[in-house]
């Protein structure tokens, strides 16, 4: 079930300070000719003034901090000795001086490197070395915080929009499924906003091709992989025989290894990505299911035959243990087809390991195949859509307060 929310495409960021210039404020400045007594008077006259830059010609040469200055002047005889002397006696001779064009982020690094005083005293802003104003530590922290919030909002918005794209990619399969296999269930739940699980359903005149795909990783890298895999699969299905899932898988393996350069020597920083997957072909006239699988098990539930008291039966068919496309998977590896006639009323289920391996319950162990099979048997008589509700409900109750570990896809159909 795919929630159909569509956030707007990412917008341009609202105007936030980008450089020191935008933090600039004007203030009272002093020239070195001023006496310390003059500074004392200024601080008395302007109680909101915390610092006074000292400017010689146009260049800042220091910063007088109110508290430091007042403390010095309050000491015995200091005022008598220094009162009528240049105000530079008690200034900080190494204030943080920042060019107007300095980006906020770089400014914050410089402020941190300058230590506590840059945050408490602020900094002097210059253009080509000439004084133009001051910036406060508070405004800098404020700007950095907003900038970070803005950045993470933009990242989230872009991921949310990526999710719109990924969901759109799934839509044709969902639409065709609804038309051709109305008795089905499909839960696609990426762990994060986007994910590495994928699902493909294609119709042909004599049957259906179905793929459930679990790419390495999750989140954004996983989603990248799903798009690569989906386009490879589409290309193969256009030219090759969908009735031979093993051959399609074998071709996919070669294509992935070639495209991601996972066919040669082991490079430490090269990629080693691929997918676990099950490809199925269902011949509708003969009710014959043919499948090939890389690590994804298939479950076939057959209802009891009429007028017998026997229980429904479930069969588990494990996939081959070779993943598709990985560096360790040989280029020449070939998968094998398996097939089964589906009895009337029989249903087929596949799920990615995000479902089977999810820890939960009192013991915090994996959901597991045994529990899955019991759940499938328990609800086998229901319409698949309703089974899906029960299955996911059981799954969520089992997961309880545990974190979701991986993307989850659960698919079932009863032709």
């Amino acid at each position: 079930m795919l929630p159909n929310h569509a956030p707007p495409p990412p917008q341009a960021a609202t105007l936030l300070p980008r450089t020191a210039l935008e933090l600039k404020k004007s203030t009272i400045v002093a020239s070195p000719e001023l006496f310390s007594d003059d500074i004392l008077r200024l601080f008395h006259e302007y109680p909101e003034l915390d610092t006074i830059p000292v400017i010689e010609d146009t260049h800042p040469i220091g910063l007088i901090n109110r508290h430091v200055f007042m403390n010095e002047m309050a000491r015995p005889y200091v005022r008598e000795i220094y009162g009528r002397k240049s105000c530079i006696a008690f200034m900080d001779k190494h204030p943080l001086i920042i060019e107007e064009t300095t980006p906020i982020q770089e400014l914050s690094f410089q402020a941190l490197a300058a230590g506590q005083k840059a945050l408490s005293d602020g900094f002097i802003i210059v253009r080509n070395g000439s004084y133009t104003g001051v910036g406060s530590g508070f405004d800098l922290v404020d700007a950095v915080t907003k900038l970070q919030a803005e950045k993470s909002r933009m990242v989230m918005e872009s991921i949310e929009y990526a999710s719109v794209i990924q969901r759109s990619f799934l839509r044709p399969s969902q639409r065709d499924l609804a038309t051709h296999l109305p008795d089905h269930l499909l839960h696609w739940e990426p762990r994060d906003v986007v994910g590495g699980d994928f699902f493909v359903f294609r119709t042909f005149n004599d049957g259906y091709f179905i793929a459930i795909i679990d790419c390495t990783g999750h989140g954004v890298p996983g989603a990248f992989m799903t798009l690569i895999m989906a386009s490879f699969l589409d290309r193969i299905l256009q030219h090759d025989n969908p009735r031979d899932p093993a051959e399609v898988m074998t071709k996919m393996n070669r294509m992935i290894k070639g495209a991601l350069a996972q066919d040669g020597d082991i490079h430490h920083d090269g990629s080693d990505d691929g997918m676990d997957t099950a490809f199925m072909w269902f011949n509708s006239a003969e009710r014959l299911l043919t499948w090939a699988s890389a690590k994804i098990p298939l479950f076939i539930v057959t209802p009891p035959t009429n007028n017998t008291a026997s229980d429904a039966k479930i069969e588990q068919m494990n996939g081959e243990r070779m993943g598709v496309g990985y560096r360790t998977t040989p280029m020449q590896h070939t998968w094998v087809n398996h097939s089964a006639h589906l009895a009337p009323g029989a249903s087929v289920f596949v799920t990615t390991d995000g479902f089977i391996d999810q820890p939960g319950g009192k013991k915090r162990i994996a959901f597991g195949k045994k529990r899955l099979k019991n759940t499938l048997l328990e609800h086998h008589a229901l319409a698949l859509k309703d089974q899906g509700e029960h299955i996911m409900q059981t799954f969520r109750a089992y997961q309880a307060e545990q974190r979701r570990r991986d993307d989850v896809t659960f698919f079932g159909f009863r032709p």
């Binding site: 915090r364 045994k370 570990r405």
Partner: protein, 133 residues
Amino acid sequence: MLGVFKMQNLKLEATSTSPEVDFQFSEHRLALRGESYPENAAAFFGPIVEALNGYLEQTQNQVIEVIIELTYFNSSSTKVLFNVFNMLNFAAASNTINLHWRYDEDDDTILEFGDDLHEDFPDINYIPESFAS
């Protein structure tokens, strides 16, 4: 073994996404416990695998006890684990490797994984050990 054993033991506390690593090389006892799904498994395990490799290269005629008690690992961690077992399987030519594969008695998923490992790495002595919890 002759000479001074120079290998540093390796001990990392478990986090919510990475296992406890307790490699007592001096005791020939290597343990992994917990869950493993770090964002970048290759980056997390890189130094661990390197240390293990260094240890195995200079170890011969030893009985090495490997204790694995993992309750969850994602697919990229699985690949790293396979590398590790591959190294141990190789080292089994000149050492005895006892793999204590510990799993909850109800955890068929972990047991199945261990059984698969046994199939792939026959030179390691596979010792499944279930525990009740």
